[in-house]
């Protein structure tokens, strides 16, 4: 379709194709006006709308019908109309609502970042740093779940889960059989397998990549290191199951973790298979491309891996 819709997001005008969501239109503009998204995932059909962090105000519905929308809308699931005017960070109402959602997401979160493998690349950490309050007003016992084992590759920490349903969609859409899902209702809902069956198939590892928090982590990387001490490097290999394009996370000379390549919104570019993720942990398995581009503000980039001299800790000559 040649016709384009004109949308104004926080006073910035952009023309997008019909059918684009407000969130994706905002991502085309980029910068601070992009609403945070915890549950939406571009590659997963049907995702989004659940976490409510991407709420925005539509102050003008469209050119034809300029009435504002009565409630804040989830930008990830609302498609743009021609002449739509959206307010994100320019609306105090949105900021207030988002702050509320972040507080509510954190009331039952264990906040165990110091022992969580996701720390450093956790979206909930970023979200609470950017939009959260310093202190919670929640004074009750936090909700906990019985720990269950979902297999030898993936560690499930239900207490950290924010129920974004991304892993459910992943299992539905890129693996041949989904054996896990959401059980129970309300704040007792939990991610679980059917009678604690193991999640085991060729693409199950992608559940780890799509998880925005530390609820699903890599068992082969468990407690090995903090992500900000590791160096991400783009690499590829010949793989008959997937594209083979991955990010290798080095600690010294050892590959300690393999993940899919993620873009600036934390979404993987290509899903990778479990063989690439869990079994190829030697540099010789891979063709190295280049250091992964990391946002300079990220804690991971604080590692300064672009330095000419290696850091003393990992310099074999000194050791």
């Amino acid at each position: 379709m040649s016709e384009k819709f004109k949308v104004t997001i926080d006073n910035i005008v952009i023309e997008v194709d019909p059918g684009t969501t407000i969130l994706n239109a905002a991502r085309m503009i980029g910068g601070d006006i992009v609403p945070p998204a915890m549950c939406y995932y571009t590659k997963l059909q049907g995702s989004g709308g659940k976490c409510r962090t991407c709420l925005v105000k539509v102050s003008q519905g469209s050119e034809k019908d300029p009435r504002p929308m009565p409630k804040l809308v989830a930008s990830c699931r609302t498609t743009v109309m021609d002449g739509m005017v959206v307010q994100n960070i320019t609306s105090p109402e949105v900021i207030e609502a988002r702050k509320g959602v972040v507080e509510i997401l954190l009331i039952n979160h264990p906040l165990d970042c110091p022992v969580c493998d996701q720390a450093g690349e956790c979206h909930l950490q970023d979200l609470s740093f950017e939009h959260g309050a310093e202190q919670t007003r929640y004074e009750f016992k936090r909700r906990t779940f019985e720990r269950i084992d979902i297999g030898d590759k993936i560690q499930l920490h239900m207490n950290r889960c924010i129920l974004c349903y991304r892993c459910v969609f992943t299992a539905d859409q890129i693996t041949n059989e989904r054996v896990h899902g959401v059980l129970n209702r309300g704040d007792a809902s939990e991610i679980s397998t059917y009678i604690t069956k193991a999640v085991d198939n060729d693409f199950s590892g992608n559940m780890i990549d799509v998880c925005p928090v530390g609820a699903l982590t890599d068992k082969t990387f468990r407690f090995k290191n903090r992500v900000w001490f590791t160096k991400p490097v783009d690499a590829h290999c010949e793989c008959d199951k997937c594209s083979g394009k991955v990010t290798l996370w080095y600690k010294g000379e050892d590959v300690i973790r393999v993940t899919g390549r993620k873009d600036q919104y934390g979404e993987v570019q290509d899903f990778i298979c479990n063989t690439c993720r869990f079994d190829k942990k030697k540099t010789s398995d891979w063709t190295i491309e280049k250091p992964t581009e990391i946002d300079p503000r990220s804690v991971i980039s604080a590692n300064h891996y672009e330095m000419e001299h290696m850091l003393p800790v990992i310099d074999k000559k000194i050791m």
Partner: protein, 457 residues
């Protein structure tokens, strides 16, 4: 005596059987529409009647029907929402138990109007007896030729199926109901698309409340204009009200919309006044999710006009001093009722019934319940009341489906109108555990009715 439409034959013995119902003139609406009316005519009649959805939202039924997409070659569905689970509402259960054929007749009329050849009645799982009654009624209607293929030789086919739900409140939300009907987890869908475009199995679907569907057969028989004459303003027709609480005569009443609230509570024809000679303290006028109102505001609006049982009059004053007709669950509380305990109880219900899909409702309802529990049991702090207000504000309007709003409104209205009672619970925890706050300044503006003689002794 007010006009009865749905319940007019309620006292006829054996009305739940097909033969008696037919003798009383039942199924003549089906004969009329199939023989003399086109589907468009039926929709037009319902539009003219001004019938509004009886499930709670009050959306005009005819309008909803006319929005139904009609693509070629795609089946359309009518789904009857009988997942009645709002605390304080029990009108649909009563109607289905006593008059199952009124619903089946309405289903046939509505299905014909929408061009649906398969229709479903989604009944709440706990209502097993009603499910059996409906299945029996469907079998009887089918045996008499009012269901199945080529009904009354008109060439119109219709099958009605009864589907028991799992007993979840959330499945009364129309998109969650459709998910559940499809055999999935009953999570509300994100709208748009609305069911009128993509509903059951992705096909255009209309979801209507039991009472709305039941009313359609009278409308096509007597004409939409005739129905519109009953009631007041845009609130046309009659409404079933489930009256419960501290009243002399709890039960299901069919009222003409526009009846004064005062008359409804105190007249012997309806609730018969407050039980045991007590005084009125507060009323939840339309099921647990609508704002609670103190006695002075439920009987009169802020402008001093008498409040009527109608969509507009009950909503007069907005959320600041009004409420909603909702699904018609009329809960009356006398001077001995504790508003904090009541609010906690409602809150506990919403906490239990939240589907857990979106974060504000999943976490926020539990938070509200815990704070209210703390206040009720004498461990509250003054800051808790403001915190509660803030939490409900963060939930309201920020969720996928209206359950978040439904959980927030009772809390908001209780704090708005009964803040002093909350403060008393915080300040006097011991007294609050032992006694009751009483009426305070929401004094019943009516003179105390004489206590029934047997209680005076």
């Amino acid at each position: 005596m007010a006009q009865k439409i749905l319940l007019k034959d309620i006292d006829v013995p054996g009305i739940e059987t097909f033969d008696v119902f037919r003798k009383q003139g039942g199924y003549s609406a089906v004969e009329k529409v199939l023989k003399t009316m086109s589907p468009e005519d039926v929709v037009e009649e319902v539009k003219k009647s001004g019938l509004r959805g009886r499930g709670g939202a009050g959306f005009p039924t005819g309008m909803k029907w006319s929005f139904l997409a009609k693509p070629e070659g795609v089946p359309r569905y009518l789904v009857c929402n009988a997942d009645e689970s709002e605390p304080g509402t029990f009108k649909d259960r009563y109607l289905m138990t006593k008059l199952p054929h009124v619903l089946i007749e309405g289903m046939i009329v509505a299905s014909y109007a929408l061009g649906a050849n398969t229709s479903y009645i989604y009944v709440r799982g706990e209502m097993m007896p009603q499910i059996r009654i409906l299945e029996k009624a469907i079998a009887e209607a089918k045996a008499a030729g009012f269901l199945g293929e080529n009904i009354l030789g008109s060439g119109y086919d219709l099958e009605i199926y009864v589907q028991p739900g799992g007993g979840a409140y959330i499945c009364g939300e129309e998109t969650a109901l459709l998910e559940s009907l499809e055999g999935k987890r009953g999570n509300p869908r994100i709208k748009p698309p609305f069911p009128a475009i993509a509903g059951l199995y992705g096909c255009p679907t209309v979801v209507n409340n039991v009472e709305s569907i039941a009313a359609t057969s009278w409308i096509v028989l007597n004409g939409g204009d005739e129905y519109a004459k009953i009631g007041i303003g845009r609130s046309t027709g009659t409404k079933l009200i489930s009256a419960s609480g501290n009243i002399n005569k709890p039960g299901v009443y069919e009222i003409e919309l526009g009846l004064p609230v005062e008359e409804f509570i105190y007249s012997d024809e309806y609730c018969g006044g407050i039980a045991n000679g007590k005084r009125l303290k507060a009323v939840v006028a339309g099921g647990s999710s609508v704002p609670i109102l103190p006695a002075n505001l439920i009987l009169r609006t802020v402008n001093g006009e008498p409040r009527l049982m109608s969509y507009e009059s009950l909503a007069d004053g907005g959320f600041a001093s009004g409420t909603m007709l909702g699904s018609g669950g009329f809960i009356v509380m006398d001077e001995d009722a504790c508003i904090v305990r009541n609010t906690w109880n409602f809150s506990r219900f919403y906490h239990h019934e939240s589907c857990g899909q979106c974060s504000p409702c999943r976490e926020g309802t539990g938070w509200m319940e815990k704070i209210l529990h703390r206040i009720e049991y004498g461990h509250g702090k003054m800051s808790d009341i403001d915190l509660l207000w803030d939490v409900q504000r963060k939930i309201e309007g920020n969720t996928i489906c209206p359950l978040g709003d439904a959980a927030a409104w009772p809390v908001a209205s209780a704090i708005r109108h009964f803040r002093d009672e909350f403060e008393w619970h915080v300040n006097e925890p011991k007294a609050a555990m032992e006694g009751n706050y009483g009426l305070a300044h929401y004094a019943d503006p009516l003179p105390v009715p004489a206590a029934p003689s047997e209680l005076v002794k």
